[in-house]
């Protein structure tokens, strides 16, 4: 009886702890959503307002009208979308070669890729910017895309995943007269969907949210992404319009939540996946 009670206490304690951690993560989100629906006056009160008296949906319109919002949004979509598509085009064959081929210099090349993965963007942004300026690309979206089309982390992760796919399946496909592209398309990719979804999600979140790189690579609103646009909401007027800034942030976050909802099924699978013997 006593041990039973002790167990219950532990379980309850576990729930309390989980709830506390959940609050830490969810609190900023809730505050962001709440603030995005408040009036300017409500954002200034103390203690802070939690439930707005009447939700100010107009804040979203105001955030969108504060700058060339559609351009920002389009830039974000084009940049992030292009990065992901190009990354996949390079990453899948690279991971396939590293996982399943023997060729001279393989270890060295793979080491170089991992090395590139470890160098932070802050180290390379000046030479990259100068190079892009040299090529006359600064007025385009390309400086935000080209440096990221090779995803070292993705190649690494996918290679690990590909290595688990039995050699015999690939050999069977070769005997079925499938060429290497067909093997990738019909066998490697369908078998690695969870890994690909995980990589896509990570890539999407990091590039959609990227602030530093576009900040140094762009010099006009025409090529700026949403993150910069929303940061600029702060500077439009003298006082910070927190309700408008937060409305912008909600708009920024929604696509990430959508992509996550879309990918989560596969991401769960990435951890429970087991091939058939």
């Amino acid at each position: 009886m006593k041990t039973f009670e002790l167990k219950t206490v532990w379980i309850l304690l576990g729930y309390v702890l989980k709830a506390a951690v959940l609050m830490i993560f969810i609190f900023p989100f809730l505050w962001m959503i709440s603030t995005s629906l408040q009036t300017f006056r409500e954002t200034m009160t103390f203690p802070p307002t939690w439930i707005p008296a009447s939700p100010q949906w107009g804040n979203f319109m105001e955030a969108m009208n504060a700058g060339p919002f559609l351009t920002y949004f389009k830039n974000s979509v084009v940049v992030t979308g292009s990065i992901i598509v190009l990354q996949f085009l390079i990453m899948i064959p690279a991971a396939y070669a590293f996982a399943k081929y023997k060729f001279p210099g393989k270890t060295l090349l793979f080491g170089m890729i991992l090395l590139a993965f470890m160098i932070p963007g802050q180290v390379t942004f000046i030479p990259v910017y100068l190079m892009m300026a040299d090529w006359g690309l600064v007025k385009t979206l390309l400086p935000q895309i080209i440096p990221f089309i090779s995803n070292a982390f993705g190649i690494f992760l996918l290679r690990q995943y590909f290595m688990q796919i039995p050699e015999e399946i690939i050999e069977a496909a070769r005997l079925d007269n499938a060429n290497e592209f067909k093997i990738m398309r019909k066998i490697m990719i369908p078998m690695s969907k969870p890994a690909l979804a995980t990589i896509a999600l990570f890539s999407f979140v990091s590039h959609w949210n990227d602030y530093f790189w576009p900040l140094v690579m762009t010099d006009s609103a025409a090529v700026r992404p949403l993150t910069l646009g929303i940061a600029m909401l702060r500077e439009t007027e003298g006082i910070s319009n927190w309700h408008i800034i937060m409305a912008g942030n909600v708009i920024l976050v929604v696509p990430i939540l959508l992509v996550y909802l879309f990918c989560s099924k596969h991401i769960v699978k990435a951890f429970v996946y087991s091939g058939i013997k």
């Binding site: 039995p166 050999e171 496909a173 005997l175 079925d176 007269n177 499938a178 066998i187 369908p190 013997k277």
Partner: protein, 351 residues
């Protein structure tokens, strides 16, 4: 249909020779089984035929044509793998027709072929299922169907039954024999299991350490093994081998050739011993007998008449005895040494 020929073939793995200068001809339309212990090079030979792991030097000929430079998918061979190697993300139908799609067979023709083959292997009710919902035996059938549907010149099978349970394995063995009879195609089958080799082969190619030990029909390998290795590899339990002298010459006899009795009989070779273990298998009983000289022999009897610790006499008739020279090769009856060895053994008769 096609014959296969290996001409002076060598294979090296990481600067280690696995096979050196091997010559072998596999006859057209025959069920050939490559058998041997693991690491003997049998799978290596099979993969060379398929082209998925080509030889380091020498050439492989299919129907007289050197296929060294021909891609695996264009050699007219189909392979069944030990772990089935089914494409897990495709349905049974997609698995079977993948090769046809790649060979640009029109859709109507494809559907017809898949359904015919599905009928043959008994998979038609499962064509739209995922492989993960099938049992081991059914997956094996998918792998077979996938090979058959391409109507290959040569069927290659790499231990296809070793992942099945014992009962299903026996059943599939019979089905494979029937399949070979029906198709009349060249079958090359790799196994480490001598029972599979004996039961299915037209020709057994027995290998050890990359060298062919014997190439003959099952009954010949059993009755006239070319050397000690062949004698001990084929047969359960393996042939009893004991020294004939101090010169590495040996004599042997099969466990099933021994006559066991409680009184010494008049055989060419007799020995007195004690039963150490007894395995009652139903139709037969296997005893391990330790002779007074300390030699352990396996004995197979149809009757279950003896018990452990019992003292028995073993007798082997002259025509059931085998002799092996110092080079481990079998000494044939016509050989001059045969008589000498027979005499030597008579002197050895124990008890």
């Amino acid at each position: 249909m096609a014959s296969i020929e290996f001409v002076k073939v060598s294979k090296w793995f990481d600067r280690q020779p696995v096979i050196q200068n091997l010559d072998l001809t596999i006859e057209d339309g025959k069920f050939t089984v490559l058998v041997g212990p693991s690491g003997c090079g049998k799978t290596t030979l099979l993969r060379m035929i398929a082209g998925i792991d080509p030889q380091t030097s020498g050439s492989v000929l299919i129907n007289g044509q050197d296929v060294t430079r021909i891609a695996p998918g264009k050699r007219g061979v189909a392979m069944v793998f030990q772990n089935y190697a089914i494409y897990p993300t495709m349905s049974v139908r997609e698995n079977i027709e993948f090769g046809l799609v790649n060979n640009k067979v029109p859709k109507a023709e494809r559907t017809r072929l898949v359904e015919t083959i599905g009928e043959t292997v008994g998979l038609n009710d499962y064509l739209d299922r995922r492989p993960s919902t099938l049992s081991g035996g059914q997956r094996q059938r998918v792998a077979l169907a996938r090979a058959m549907v391409k109507n290959p010149l040569v069927f290659l099978m790499d231990e296809p039954l070793s992942n099945l349970d014992a009962k299903l394995r026996v059943q599939m063995r019979i089905e494979l024999i029937e399949l070979h009879k029906k198709l009349g195609t060249t079958f090359v089958y790799v196994t480490h299991d001598q029972v599979e080799a004996m039961s299915m082969a037209d020709t057994i190619v027995l290998m050890n350490q990359g060298v062919i030990q014997q190439e003959a029909p099952p009954e010949v390998v059993y009755r006239k093994p070319s050397n000690r290795f062949a004698a001990q590899f084929i047969g359960v339990p393996p042939m009893n081998i004991a020294p004939l002298g101090n010169d590495n010459t040996t004599f042997g006899f099969r466990p099933e050739s021994v006559v066991v009795g409680t009184e010494p009989g008049s055989f060419h070779y007799t020995a007195k011993g004690e039963i150490i273990t007894r395995e009652m298998l139903g139709a037969e009983t296997i005893y391990q007998v330790k002779t007074t000289e300390g030699q352990a022999f396996m004995v197979k009897c149809l009757e279950d008449e003896f018990h452990v610790d019992q003292e028995v006499y073993l007798g082997v008739p002259a025509d059931k005895l085998f002799f092996f020279g110092a080079d481990e090769k079998r000494v044939e009856e016509q050989d001059a040494r045969y008589r000498e060895f027979m005499e030597r053994l008579r002197g050895l008769a124990h008890g």
